[in-house]
Amino acid sequence: MLLLHCPYCGPRWEQEFQCRGEAHIARPEPAAEASDATWAAYLYLRSNPKGLHYERWQHTHGCRRWFNVLRSTLTHEIVAIYRPGEPKPELKR
């Protein structure tokens, strides 16, 4: 049961949120010119890492806002939380 810091509401427990999958999946534009492979990748290919994962969450049972989370899929450590449009935090090596 994660404790997530909604950038708008503060720390709330996981049940108020929904995980909305990997973040930073850009829609190929113009879509009509995207190759089949490009479109398939946009639809289906996800990084699914063991470790740090950029993902989108929505505070469904709260402010209903979407935001981004950098989370370890291994330890559930939350490394960063940032709003859509804000730059993706770089991973320190």
């Binding site: 049961m1 829609r27 479109w39 398939a40 330890t75």
Partner: protein, 997 residues
């Protein structure tokens, strides 16, 4: 009061002044406040308390706490009965009723013990071996096996009790109120941290409740009382007795269950039975203690074979002798303390059988002082007596502990205490993600690297000595508080007298069988798993401990191997000649002990399980006796039966009313989203397949929504109320999906668009009137509302008053009849509904439900999302390609051009059965031949199918491969075990009324 023959005259924490009457297997016994069911049974000389799971062997009480694998009883009666309750953890109360399990016809004579004799037929993995043939017979075997094996019976009837939930936060959660836990809570509390101290027992104190040592110059009991008083006096400290921390989840979130009133003979009505605590702790201190391990020797499961520490606990805490003459079989020195405690309580100690050679430490000296005979370098190889230990035999243990030699010595006893060492209770630690490391010296797992904010203190990290536990607890509590920001002077640890010096233990995982004895050596008593089973598994090739666990069932069941897991691990490692450390360990999963479903559900059950959404007219539907169907969280009227009317008759009547006169349906459940802002048309252009820029104000348009794969997921009509203001409707079940879809794009991709979405589903009540008389009816009730075709054409929207209520009227419909959807404020819903019914009487107005609505829409070929679509259907499949704009992009457009969609697709068509009265089953498979001869390549399936009273025949919609080009072809549809012939037809059986085109 009948006598309690095994009760000591003095000592213990029981109240001898009061007697409690209880029944076990119908027999009346007496005990005292402070007793557990187990201690009271032992006091009464009841040794046989259950039958084992697989072999139905007689079993007695093994332990004094949570780890008890044998004494599982059915507690209580009727709907309150609870199976598999550990008698060692049941507080005795007056009138308690308990029953043994797994026995037939009686505990003393059990017909199933034949299973013991037939055990050759029940080898490990017998599920996978013995009963696989002949094919199809498993169902027969299963019934017999389930009857013979098993763990108790579930209660009948609904649970009459109430269960509560509590959400809480604290700085420091201390789990376990033994010496380390109390010291930790004191230290953290003194620093000012908000502390929760939870312990599964009724009395806080853990090992202190049976300890004889001095702490800070006081007796352990006096020190405990003072410490608890100190804790109680701290406002920010909460003590939770009878509370098991059963799960340690992410980010220091723990689940605890508090047994609030299980121990009360007559619980007051205001108390819940259990309370589930969902606790988030900034820091956790695990002072969870250690569990003593049994030794594995022949017939180590006989009633009267008991963990040494348990026998000591019964003597010192409960004032009960677990036998008259005892033998201790041990591989460590700490267990000597138990033998000495029993000797001091007046039990005759026949001998101590110690696996170690030549023990010369303080403990051995103390035993010798009491004149106890010491058999060093020996092991118990046989237990006499079936239902009760009658004596044991010991032999010399070879140097490798792989054989026993010499002549057996017979030792007279009725109690065999055993101790194979101690396993720190690290279930919660492992659940938290902490690593466990094998310590070969102490022969146990110890906490390794932690993953969460957790500290481990006392016996849980292998520190068995009281003095050390107090020091570690104080340090852990102080540190946990400091990490929450509560600094200050380091609290002084309570001082306990040092423990006697102890020689190290000799690992003895499996006592060799003597040539004469034989017998089963049990590793997991609850699941009847023996050392032979483990060896067989390794011979059959099992290597991974997780596989061995599942194959042999060692460590399964309600106790999850609390006493057996380490022995299992060690024996498997021995057989594989592997390092125990290298074998790892099985995964510790919550819950630590079983938690009732009722506690987890709390009050979220029956109507509170999921909220029911009600429309403004719901009360009328209920009063009218409508049959309801769930649609999302709504309960929509399915049909309104008149007295004596069948469902089919009601639906037919409702349908005909719409086609011939006028019907009214509660359409309030349709999803409604208010869209405002200059970028609204842009949003609609993206989320719908068709174009929205040129939609005039006051007009509506139908739209399909696709996901990015190109599949239809919702549809609905959206109206333009103003230049920058739209009213979108969605399906009843899809409203939240659509709202989320819009928000997702707006918030994550269209960041700067000037548009806002507001869900207004519950702000509007909607009554839709449909049928040739709908306009006349509306005219009677309308004010400031021009209903002419010019002012309010088909697919138009107007505002005015209906029945005096401010209303928004859409001339749209789903039935193909002329219809109007009248939207009023939700609070006006019932007034509108009643006004329509009253004014409609002269037109023959008929309320209709969702079933009639579906028949009517299917007659005119309108799709229903969820019937004609299932997430794999495109607009073209539905014959709606014309709704897809070609000029610009929209969500899902590129998805439609995927190669996977270029093959022949299933297309929406109508089906007319040869026999007009045959109504095809929805979901029926369509094939191209008249006989059932597998394999049948499927052409498609029926998506909607109804009896049309208006047409006097059945109608069906189906998705069929290349269907549009197969008009007129004959197909066959699976129907009630056979096939129904039908002909492919256009997906529209009736043209919509002139006024609804």
């Amino acid at each position: 009061m009948s006598s309690q023959p095994f009760r000591l005259a003095t000592g213990g924490r029981i109240d001898r002044q009061r007697a409690l009457c209880f029944r076990f297997d119908g027999q009346v016994y007496w005990g005292h406040p402070g007793d557990t069911l187990a201690s009271a049974l032992l006091a009464n000389g009841v040794r046989l308390v259950g039958r084992s799971f697989k072999y139905h062997r007689p079993r007695g009480i093994l332990a004094a706490g949570v780890e008890e694998p044998n004494a599982l009883v059915r507690l209580g009666e009727g709907a309150r009965a609870e199976p598999n309750t550990r008698a060692t953890q049941v507080e005795l109360f007056d009138g308690l009723v308990a029953e043994s399990q797994n026995r037939w016809p009686s505990l003393a004579f059990d017909a199933g013990q034949a299973g013991d004799l037939l055990s050759a037929l029940l080898p490990v993995g017998f599920y996978y071996k013995t009963f696989m043939r002949p094919k199809g017979w498993w169902e027969r075997y299963e019934r017999l096996i389930r009857q013979a094996a098993g763990m108790g019976r579930a209660p009948q009837g609904a649970d009459p009790d109430r269960y509560a939930k509590m959400h809480a936060h604290c700085d420091v959660l201390v789990v376990g109120a033994g010496p380390a836990g109390i010291a930790a809570a004191l230290a953290a509390g003194q620093r000012g941290a908000r502390v929760v101290l939870a312990d599964e027992q009724a009395e806080l104190g853990g090992g202190l409740l049976a300890a004889a040592s001095l702490i800070d110059g006081q007796s352990a009991g006096d020190w405990l009382a003072l410490a608890l008083a100190t804790l109680r006096a701290m406002d920010q400290v909460r003590l939770l007795p009878r509370t098991t921390a059963f799960g340690y989840y992410d980010h220091n979130f723990l689940g605890l269950v508090e047994r609030v009133s299980d121990h009360l003979a007559a619980p007051p009505a205001h108390l819940p039975r259990h309370r589930l605590w969902k606790l988030r702790a900034r820091q956790v201190v695990l002072a969870t203690g250690a569990l003593e391990r049994p030794l594995v020797f022949a017939d180590n499961d006989r009633p009267g074979v008991m963990l040494a520490g348990a026998a000591a606990t019964y003597a010192t805490r409960y004032g009960v002798r677990s036998g008259k003459r005892a033998v201790l079989f041990t591989n460590n020195s700490e267990a000597y303390g138990a033998a000495i405690a029993l000797a001091d309580a007046g039990v005759q100690l026949t001998a101590i059988v110690d696996a170690r050679e030549d023990v010369r430490d303080d403990w051995a000296a103390r035993a010798r002082e009491r004149g106890i005979r010491l058999l060093a370098g020996q092991a118990v190889v046989a237990v006499e007596g079936r239902r009760q230990v009658a004596g044991v035999r010991a032999m010399r243990l070879g140097p490798g502990a792989d054989q026993v030699t010499g002549l057996p010595a017979r030792l007279e006893c009725d109690l065999l205490m055993m101790s194979g060492g101690y396993s720190p209770t690290l279930h919660l630690y492992a659940q938290s993600g902490g690593r466990l490391v094998w310590d070969p010296l102490r022969a146990c797992q110890l906490p390794g690297e932690a993953r969460q904010a957790v500290h481990v203190a006392g016996a849980a990290r292998g520190s068995l000595e009281l003095a050390q536990a107090l020091v570690e607890g104080t340090a852990a509590g102080a540190q946990a508080a400091a990490e929450c920001g509560f600094a200050g002077a380091l609290p002084e640890a309570p001082q306990a007298e040092p423990a006697p010096a102890a020689a190290s233990l000799r690992p003895l995982w499996l006592v060799p069988l003597s040539q004469s004895s034989g017998g089963k050596r049990f590793v997991d008593l609850q699941n009847d798993v023996t050392a032979a089973d483990l060896m067989l598994a390794t011979r059959e090739g099992y290597r991974a401990i997780e596989h061995v666990k599942r194959y042999t069932t060692a460590g399964l069941g309600t106790d999850q191997g609390k006493t057996g897991n380490i022995n299992t691990l060690a024996i498997v490692a021995q057989k594989l000649s592997a390092d125990i450390a290298g074998l790892g360990h099985t995964t510790y999963r919550p819950p630590y002990t079983p938690v009732s479903f009722a506690a987890l559900a709390g009050q979220d059950r029956a109507p509170l399980h999921e909220p029911v959404r009600r429309t403004g007219m719901q009360g009328w539907h209920e009063e009218r006796g409508a049959e309801f169907e769930p649609v999302g969280q709504w309960r929509r009227p399915h049909h309104y039966p008149r007295p004596g009317e069948s469902m089919h008759e009601a639906v037919a009547r409702e349908c005909l009313a719409v086609r011939q006169a006028v019907g009214v349906v509660d359409a309030s459940t349709l999803g409604k989203i208010d869209i405002q802002g200059p970028d609204s048309p842009k949003v609609l252009n993206w989320v719908y397949t068709n174009a929205w820029d040129r939609l005039p104000i006051g007009r509506c348009r139908y739209g399909l929504m696709l996901n990015e794969e190109g599949m239809v997921f919702d549809d609905g009509v959206t109206a333009r109320l103003d230049q920058h203001h739209f009213h979108m409707t969605t399906t009843s079940g899809g409203a939240s999906t659509v709202m989320n879809w819009l928000e997702e794009w707006l918030q994550t991709e269209w960041l700067n668009w000037r548009v806002r979405f507001t869900s207004v589903t519950e702000q509007w009540a909607v009554a839709a009137i449909a049928g040739p008389s709908s306009r006349a009816l509306l005219k009677d009730l309308a004010e400031n509302l021009d209903l002419s075709d010019e002012a309010l054409p088909f697919m138009g929207v107007s505002e005015g008053r209906v029945a005096g209520l401010p209303a928004r009227v859409f001339r749209i419909g789903y039935t193909g009849a002329q219809s109007y959807e009248i939207n009023v404020a939700a609070s006006h819903g019932m007034a509108l509904w009643l006004a329509l019914l009253a004014a409609g009487e002269k037109y023959g107005i008929t309320p209709f439900g969702t079933e009639a609505m579906h028949v009517l829409r299917a007659e005119v070929g309108f799709i229903a999302v969820g019937h004609e679509t299932d997430g794999t259907v495109t607009p073209d499949d539905l014959g709606l390609a014309r709704l897809c704009k070609t000029s610009q992009d929209f969500l899902g457009r590129r998805g439609l051009a995927r190669p996977a969609l270029r093959a022949e697709r299933k297309q929406l068509v109508g089906l007319l059965t040869d026999h007009p009265k045959t109504v095809l089953p929805m979901g029926g498979q369509v094939i191209d031949r008249a006989e059932l001869r597998p394999p049948h390549p499927s052409l498609g399936h029926v998506t909607s199918s109804y009896w049309s009273a208006h047409l006097g025949r059945s109608i069906a919609l189906a998705l069929i491969k290349g269907g549009r080009a197969r008009q007129g072809e004959r197909v066959w549809v699976t129907n009630d075990g056979g096939l129904a012939p039908a002909t492919i037809a256009p997906a529209r059986f009736l043209a919509p009324a002139e006024a609804a085109r």
